[in-house]
Subunit: 284 residues, 2 copies
Amino acid sequence: MIELDEQQQQARTWFESLRDAICAEFEAIEAEAGSDAKFAYTPWDRTDPSGAPGGGGVRGVIKGKVFEKAGVNVSTVGGTFEGDFAKTIHGAGDNPNFFATGISLVAHMANPHVPAVHMNTRFLVTTKRWFGGGADLNPPIPYAEDTADFHAAMQAACDAHDPQHYPRFKAWADEYFYIPHRKTHRGVGGIFYDHLEGAGDAGWEANFAFTQDVGRAFLDIFPKIVRRRMGMAFTEAERQQQLEWRGRYAEFNLIYDRGTLFGLKTGGNIDAILMSLPPVTAWS
Amino acid sequence: MIELDEQQQQARTWFESLRDAICAEFEAIEAEAGSDAKFAYTPWDRTDPSGAPGGGGVRGVIKGKVFEKAGVNVSTVGGTFEGDFAKTIHGAGDNPNFFATGISLVAHMANPHVPAVHMNTRFLVTTKRWFGGGADLNPPIPYAEDTADFHAAMQAACDAHDPQHYPRFKAWADEYFYIPHRKTHRGVGGIFYDHLEGAGDAGWEANFAFTQDVGRAFLDIFPKIVRRRMGMAFTEAERQQQLEWRGRYAEFNLIYDRGTLFGLKTGGNIDAILMSLPPVTAWS
């Protein structure tokens, strides 16, 4: 085990309790669809390259009737960034020590009318301390109503803390979740933020409260959208459209995603890092 | 169109005739399996970032009973490398002009007992002129006999030209076709070579002859292996094993493959560049 200070422990406790609430909600949706699918949890440990304890996490996966494959990973890791990678991380240029705790979730849905989704929030410590995260909606078949509701939920979480947050973090998501070689976005957006530092304990508290609200907003809106769409009939052509759309999603995660790169570069658990990849995917 | 010198034209003609021979052989295999699947060809043009003509290519795809999806791309492109990318290419550090002609082939097979395969050979011109290429066998369910025969064919092609070629190019393939984050090779290897330059016209002729022999060796051995395995019965579990194995293949191509990166960085045709991705893939 690695030693945690008070803020680190508080953040970790929040991310794990958010995981519990989300998993309970997803299992309730499965039950409504007549399935008894539950999350299966696999703990994993990380060895730091320095040889010191490196922390670890728990990967949870559900494969059900509504959630074709949803993975939620909580991890609390720390140690030393290897080599030049430290230079790419905020506050680690001259000191490669780091700590990170967070939750990462990706849901790929059985029904192409139900959007896939990604949500991730995290607390990072180097010589700096900051929060980062975001959530974005990834419908194979987009519905304007779902997109509007998802953005409205994220905006409400943002507006409660800072009127600048939503315009800034929405634009950041539009920039981040873009696939240059396809000249297209991977989904219909959401919010993305990083390096959210505050002055002193009050600043930390404020940013922690915001990060909690992003998690709560996700927990509120996504299940609503799932319940709205999960009963819709779909055609073989719509399913094929979903599988090919998932190919774009896999391309984004393997080529561009910062979290995937962070995991690979810090020797995280491969199954947890690549949990975001879609279950069945097609490239035509 | 871009202008070609004598060597460029000869190389291009060879790659296109090799494509014709391979496609005819693959279609013959489909016919033996009672299918009338044929390659469909899509020409594409490339615009150089300089605005000059950038060449182009032809993408061929067959989706049949034996070949679930095989793609063969011939391209002849030229122009100017953009920005810092030039610095990463042999002989282009001080002069970003380039020319490239080649053939690239990937076959994903319907039957998990039949190995997938990759073969690519190319002629590059910057301030240097060289050949590169290779072929590797990617069986979801490996058979020692197939592996041995494939390596023997590649070795024979190598040994006819230089006793150093095979040990060097086999080791290079073992190093290249490796997936660090999975700590595994993507298949059972083959050969990989690059920057094969010779002194003067005689050196060029020798390396061109070697590159032709690599193509001929592939054309000889791969169809034999396909015919040996294509009639074998397989289980649902073996098919699933194949789909998950394809996930590793997609990870390699999207994260590590130099040819994919070259294509994305030089504004090639996206469908041709990503033609190598498996048709149906699963991540558990």
